[in-house]
């Protein structure tokens, strides 16, 4: 794993991508910390983080796009397949290298609360836990976009898929908010979601029956729940989407000024889930 990690890390800093991502994040952080904290005389730098996290929609795909798409494009994936390494080691090596790139701006941002504390009382605990949440948000996004890169051979498509996935994450709460909050609307929205899920299952396993069974089982469960307690469904879809939104979670974490473990665990779960999906996709290519 360390060989893959070293090779990847070197690659990010031997071309522009690593520097561009770091610069983007630091420029955003610099601007907003200056506006909020130095001009607005507000002691908590973490209030800038939800805004800074918007630039991740661009910075993360820039870094992740090459991870697997490039290997496939250059046909170097055959080398990785024949090295005495497990697929999970290869994926983890690459993931950790990307996370090291994002550790650079995070570590630099860790200096900001110290500078601010020169001018008055600053809650270092909430600042650093917020930075941890920010870093874990990077981790979740990197995993999502790495998965996108493992789906394609083209870096450009990988980047577009990555940006699209993150933008959907961002606007999902807005979109869900536009839907009526009636029970039947929630029911229909969930049904649509199940249909999408079944489609994704079909695209992965290329088997009608597995996809169909998944859809039927989920839809059956949904229907039974709807029959039993219709009132539960009112506004449920909005709450469901809001709970899934990775950007809202950071907002929540920062505004509560509490160490909200659910947010941290949520980010870690997303990172784990998409890393697992990536391992499966890379492994699957061998079988197709």
């Amino acid at each position: 794993m360390s060989a893959v990690y070293k090779k990847e890390l070197k690659a990010y800093f031997s071309n522009m991508t690593g520097y561009i991502a770091i610069a983007l994040i630091l420029v955003m952080a610099g601007i907003f910390v200056k506006i909020l904290n130095f001009q607005g005389r507000y002691p908590n730098m973490e209030t800038a983080l939800p805004t800074v996290s918007l630039i991740l929609m661009l910075a993360v795909p820039i870094v992740t796009m090459r991870s697997f798409a490039e290997e496939r494009h250059q046909k170097t994936d055959l080398l990785l397949y024949t090295l005495p390494l497990k697929t999970s080691q290869i994926v983890m090596g690459k993931y950790l290298a990307m996370m090291t790139v994002f550790a650079v701006p995070t570590v630099i941002m860790m200096l900001y609360p110290l500078f601010l504390s020169l001018y008055g009382g600053v809650s270092l605990l909430s600042a650093y836990t917020s930075l941890l949440a920010f870093y874990l948000l990077c981790g979740a996004m990197v995993a999502i976009c790495m998965f996108m890169s493992s789906l394609t051979e083209s870096q450009i498509i990988a980047a577009v898929l990555g940006v699209a996935a993150l933008v959907i994450c961002y606007i999902s709460t807005l979109l869900a908010g536009a839907l009526p909050t009636t029970a039947i609307a929630s029911y229909i929205a969930f049904t649509a979601l199940i249909a999408l899920l079944a489609l994704a299952v079909y695209l992965f396993v290329k088997n009608y029956w597995v996809a169909f069974t998944t859809a039927v089982v989920l839809e059956g469960g949904l229907l039974i729940a709807y029959m039993i307690d219709r009132s539960l469904f009112a506004g449920l879809f909005q709450r469901f989407i809001a709970a899934l939104s990775i950007f809202d979670a950071l907002n929540l974490f920062v505004s509560n000024q509490l160490v909200d473990m659910t947010v941290l665990v949520y980010y870690l779960s997303i990172a784990f889930l998409f890393t697992f999906f990536t391992v499966q996709t890379v492994e699957k290519r061998r079988w197709s």
């Binding site: 360390s2 060989a3 893959v4 070293k6 090779k7 070197k10 690659a11 031997s14 071309n15 250059q74 046909k75 170097t76 994936d77 055959l78 080398l79 397949y81 024949t82 090295l83 005495p84 390494l85 497990k86 061998r286 079988w287």
Partner: protein
């Protein structure tokens, strides 16, 4: 070393590799021969674990390539068809990465990298970016990568494609040298390459193994009948008289030699397993007729190859091969220059653009004939 059992690969209804069964013994050089599209690369990818078979099993030194993948892969060094190199790395960085990934001890990595760089003659290029190297050097970096860690088995998929004649002979020497201590599987569509370096040849066509034996045995088994080719300075009547007195002669054809009107070429059919060459020599010598040539007529490996791989399949595949490789004209595919040194540039250009218009015959000639004739005449000298 390798046991391949019932290996099959299907894409939908299309069977690319069809129930292959073979065993690879240690310490020999195996040649995997077949027209393009025969399933060579697919088979190699399955043996090395890059591609999962639809059915069947591959055991490397007792380890199943899927069940016990890491242990099995430790035994293999693989050079795929396209060398898997990272263009933004230098050969040294690249080899260091592969060495570390192969789990070579940190203290031994440096020495090991230099050993393979020396063996493949890329030490001078170690600080250049791989993207700036020529195709030949990239290929050698790929071979160096496969040699790292001294794997017991080295698999090379068309290792000399795109190299110049000097590099090809260098790579062949390297392969022969490596073959003394290791098992090597080499795939190629170039017959001369296989006949030059391999102990054992496997011919694959449309996913089926059509022959697997030593070159001599393949030649012998595919020899249709016992025939002798002679060129003598004598008149046809005397030739008939002499031949009618020699036991074992079934029939013969006499034809005038195109080079000299006093010479005659004779094609003699002999009873199976009967050796009459010395009798023929003395019979003609006794009458003071000069014997200019006397040899067993043999099918060339090329002819055997065509016979085994079914002419019709070869035609379409060969055309595909030629049009695909025609674009890389600056780097010759074979080690001997094309037979006719055409100076008419326009005509050549036209041919490169539309290879199919000029038919398969020419493509095959350029690919195979010049290569093979060298080997063929050598054989004949031996016979004499």
């Amino acid at each position: 070393m390798i046991e391949v059992r019932n290996l099959t690969k299907k894409y939908g209804d299309h069977t690319v590799v069809n129930h292959l069964n073979f065993t690879i013994e240690p310490g020999r050089i195996y040649g995997f021969l077949g027209p393009n599209g025969a399933g060579k690369s697919t088979t190699m990818n399955m043996i090395t674990g890059c591609l999962a078979p639809t059915a069947g099993q591959v055991l490397i030194d007792g380890h199943d390539i899927y069940e016990d993948a890491v242990a099995a892969r430790r035994c293999i060094g693989y050079l795929p068809e396209i060398p898997p190199v990272y263009p933004d790395m230098t050969p040294e960085e690249y080899l260091r990465f592969v060495a570390e990934a192969k789990g070579i001890k940190a203290s031994a990595v440096f020495e090991e990298i230099y050993r393979v760089m020396e063996e493949t003659d890329i030490t001078d290029m170690r600080h250049r970016l791989i993207k700036n190297l020529s195709k030949g050097y990239k290929q050698r970096v790929g071979i160096a990568q496969a040699m790292l860690g001294e794997p017991k088995l080295i698999i090379l998929d068309e290792p000399t494609v795109g190299l110049d004649p000097r590099q090809i002979s260098g790579i062949r020497e390297l392969i022969s040298r490596l073959g003394q201590s290791r098992t090597i599987i080499l795939s190629s569509h170039i017959l001369a390459e296989v006949s030059a370096v391999c102990d054992h040849v496997m011919i694959i066509n449309r996913g089926n193994l059509v022959a697997s034996d030593t070159l001599e045995n393949i030649r012998r088994d595919n020899m249709p009948e016992n025939r002798i080719a002679m060129t003598v300075r004598a008149n046809p009547d005397s030739i008939r008289t002499i031949l009618s007195d020699i036991p074992g002669v079934i029939g013969y054809d006499i034809a005038g030699n195109p080079e000299d009107s006093n010479l005659f070429d004779i094609d003699i059919e002999v009873e199976a397993d009967r050796e009459i060459r010395e009798a023929l020599f003395f019979a003609f010598a006794e009458k003071h007729f000069a014997v200019r040539k006397l040899a067993k007529s043999e099918l060339s490996l090329e002819e055997i190859f065509f016979r085994l791989t079914d002419a019709s399949a070869v035609i379409s595949d060969e055309e595909e091969l030629y049009s695909a490789e025609g674009e890389e004209e600056e780097e010759p595919v074979c080690c001997v220059p094309a037979p006719d040194d055409r100076e008419d540039g326009e005509e050549t250009e036209e041919e490169e653009k539309h290879p199919s218009r000029f038919g398969r015959k020419k493509a095959v000639e350029e690919e195979y004939t010049p290569l093979f004739q060298a080997g063929k005449s050598d054989d004949k000298e031996d016979e004499q």
